[in-house]
Symmetry: C2
């Protein structure tokens, strides 16, 4: 059920680049709830009867994003808390191999398309062979960056964007660093399911309806997105976790940075010495490759299980 | 309970390098069970009353390994199946920061030691702050490599070794590629708990008693370790998984290779086209950084949840 109070933002006029000069579609207060319609990453190009031949005519202008939403009073240096209340999947999904993109682009030169019927609401079926649990989330959630001008939507950035983190399902809480007045939040690129890595460059791509609550924090600066996840709604987790992320073209550097953010968190929240935080990270924090295809920035996430704390 | 039938190999005369000329301590048949005692990675250097001052006097000769065990009839190109029946933790564990090692070696220049009392059998306690579930496994399981001479134990290799994969708990089944006559299996470096990544270069290090069953396969060659895990015994998984691994100094290259192995598996086991296998990997296979500290070879693992299959 979509929250009946709050604002609604339709997907009738999406934007296809990040640009902090885009006029806000909506202005809200800290504490407000907004329901977004989002278009799929191919902007409606693929339908239930599409085939691999239709991949050739796809023109990718950028992810169609719904927004921006201006948060009243948001200033650079503040943090935007985004509570993900609900993600409703669209009616069908698609997965495509796009020549020249994806982790194994040197191995796959021919376009390929798979259409998934999502009507059953619980599983995406791969013929009679497999059924993938639908665990919907948005691949893109982010804020305008400080640098002026138009910036492509493909790579994730300091303020979020196309980070394709599959644990950002309903029940999770996302934190984004604010770089411009009003924060300027946009969303899109919903996925019905995805593996950590999103190796072929597409997940089960779909449209969606998403309900979010925004809260503004003046006192807890961060440098890249972080999030809390309840752990009960998706495959691969059995408890709540706090997660730091780091993006960039080098997975080793990203791993270091994500761990440094986690040590900051452990020092601040649990009063651990940095040395003990490092040891605790080694024995209890898991490094996942959230995405390895949104060139040139890959995302490494460090997951701290919160149920270890008394 | 340790299996009462089968062979027992004590840890009285460990070896500290890989060398295919080492004489076997024991020869077994395919189907046999062996119980191994293993020493901790520091060869007993740290005791319950040790402090950070004791880190300075640690001399690391290599991981003390119990073995090698010769498997009768094993030939290069065969695969050794290792069923992990039981891992009994030792009485205490330690975690250390070693200057010059670990993911954040540039940040941490001072030796640091934490001792963990494992007597309660279920949790390792970090004071009153946190309790880490004891999920014991061996960081090192591997076979002698084809190249003659002595080879350090630190980096993982084609035949396994110090791969530090925390999901290799009791109930998991490991597959190792055989490169020498008799396979020559050794084991050591038990961990009471570890995060994916093992970022500070040590887990909760301990001695252990491990029970394994060996089976020889002539018909399923692999090029790097793979494993099945039941998923019910450790944090971060809710079902069984099949896992491919790839090692090397570059995480991006390892990710590609682990995914390629997974596509091979999906083609062979489920008769998927390579394109559909790639799409399925993108929507359902998770990339984890198993370890990022055993220089110069990091391990990336690709986890396929098996409960998606009908």
């Amino acid at each position: 059920m979509v929250a009946s109070t709050g604002f609604v933002l339709e997907s009738t006029s999406p934007h296809y680049v990040w640009d902090n000069a885009l006029p806000p579609k909506l202005t809200v207060q800290s504490g407000d709830t907004v329901t977004f319609q989002t278009r799929d990453a191919a902007d409606g190009h693929f339908q239930l009867n599409s085939t691999s031949a239709d991949v050739a005519t796809l023109e990718f202008r950028g992810h169609p994003l719904t927004g921006p939403v201006r948060i009243e009073g948001a200033k650079p240096g503040d943090t935007l808390q985004v509570d993900i209340l609900e993600v409703q999947p669209g009616p069908h999904g698609w997965t495509t191999i796009l020549p020249g993109m994806g982790l194994l682009s040197e191995d796959f030169g021919v376009p390929h398309l798979r259409i998934w019927d999502l009507a059953d609401g619980q599983f995406a079926h791969l013929g009679d062979l497999a059924k993938i649990p639908i665990e919907p989330f948005c691949g893109v959630m982010g804020l305008a960056i400080a640098e002026p001008g138009e910036h492509p939507t493909m790579p994730p950035r300091r303020t979020g964007g196309n980070f394709d983190i599959r644990q950002l399902v309903a029940g999770s809480t996302l934190y984004l660093p604010i770089e411009v007045d009003g924060a300027l939040f946009s969303i899109g690129d919903a996925h019905a399911a995805q593996g950590d890595g999103e190796v072929c460059v597409s997940a089960i791509e779909m449209s969606s309806t998403v309900s979010l609550r925004f809260q503004l924090h003046k006192d807890r600066p961060i440098h890249e997105p972080q999030f809390k996840t309840p752990g009960s709604r998706f495959r691969g987790s059995t408890g709540p976790a706090y997660v730091t992320t780091a993006h960039g073209p080098d997975l080793l550097a990203n791993s270091k940075q994500a761990v440094r953010y986690m040590l900051d968190y452990l020092e601040r929240e649990y009063r651990l010495s940095r040395e003990d935080a490092y040891c605790l990270a080694s024995v209890a924090v898991d490094l996942k490759i959230s995405e390895i295809v949104d060139a040139p920035n890959w995302v490494v996430s460090a997951f701290l299980p919160l149920d270890i704390f008394a």
